[in-house]
Symmetry: C3
Subunit: 138 residues, 3 copies
């Protein structure tokens, strides 16, 4: 069995970190699949998905991590060619990755207590975002 | 078809790197699924999963990589708020990611010869760890 | 339903970045699965998979990102033990990850317009590469 669900939300960009755990959990709960996996896929090339303990300290720490490894204010070939000013956003997104797959049983996500599903929007401006969920199993 | 399997083991933390390839392979072999994917998901927010050529040189090199990009001894907002001292563990785990999906055929994982499945435990203390496997296919 | 497909291609190594979107899309289109996920798995321990806006500026930017976080010319324990000279290739691959899962509907990949599926070959020499696709759904 396969059930698709689209999540839509707005973000502020600039490393905005959005907790989508409850929406993913509700989609699984409301589906007709009891046991399986939910694929969480962020559409677009300037955002990524992962898990984190979602609290304000770590939200800031994650932003600093990405600023260390892919700083905003260094030259990017993407910006030279296209003038978008978001070269850093793209390479951060590629490194973090666009898919996450979470198992569930009895319609319950098998996450740790302090493990939330997040979208990190690296773009340099507010965006409307779409996450595609694919719920598969039996 | 969906079959779930839980792997449990202890780790030393502090970037302990544990090769779980044989356990994942055995779970697939012992399942009733012949062809499909196994989702390898680490429960918790201070560890990640990936693949590596598991040999002692690279095990040390990986630890050094994470120390370069998310050093232990810099300030973390998480530590200031909660005093856990494991801010670096959390951001490393979020960057590495908590899910890996490996295809299999004829109950054999389709890994390279030198490609092993590992859990990296970034926490700052020994932990008991749980990996959830979701084996899906036909 | 599960359908497997193997993609084979040659790469130049040294952070060669190969766009495999059209091959993945064709495999899904030619399968008998209408809705589900395709798991994209790179076999081997010196390459990874992710998504990017595939244009020459970003291709160069991604190479620079990996050179910053895992430089070629620092000592690696792997090279000291085995003399392969590709310690940097291995740790970059482990960080990027070997699996990506992309949802599809009506046999169409649900990617963004500027979001392509890529293999990054970090090895220090030309290689023949194999990507295993597992197409699952209904």
């Amino acid at each position: 069995m396969v059930e698709s669900k689209t999540l839509q939300f707005s973000s502020q960009g600039n490393c905005d970190i959005i907790d989508i755990t409850s929406q993913v959990g509700r989609a699984v709960h409301d589906s007709s699949v009891d046991s399986g996996t939910v694929t969480v896929f962020i559409i677009g090339s300037t955002a990524g998905v992962t898990t984190v303990e979602y609290e304000s300290g770590l939200v800031g720490d994650l932003k600093k991590l990405f600023e260390r490894i892919a700083p905003k204010n260094i030259p990017y070939g993407h910006d030279e060619r296209w003038g978008d000013g978001n070269g850093h956003s793209h390479v951060r997104a590629s490194l973090l990755g666009s898919s996450l797959v979470v198992p569930f049983e009895g319609k319950q996500l098998m996450l740790g207590t302090w493990q939330q599903i997040i979208v990190v929007d690296f773009d340099n401006r507010p965006r409307n975002r779409t996450v595609q969920l694919q719920i598969m199993g039996e």
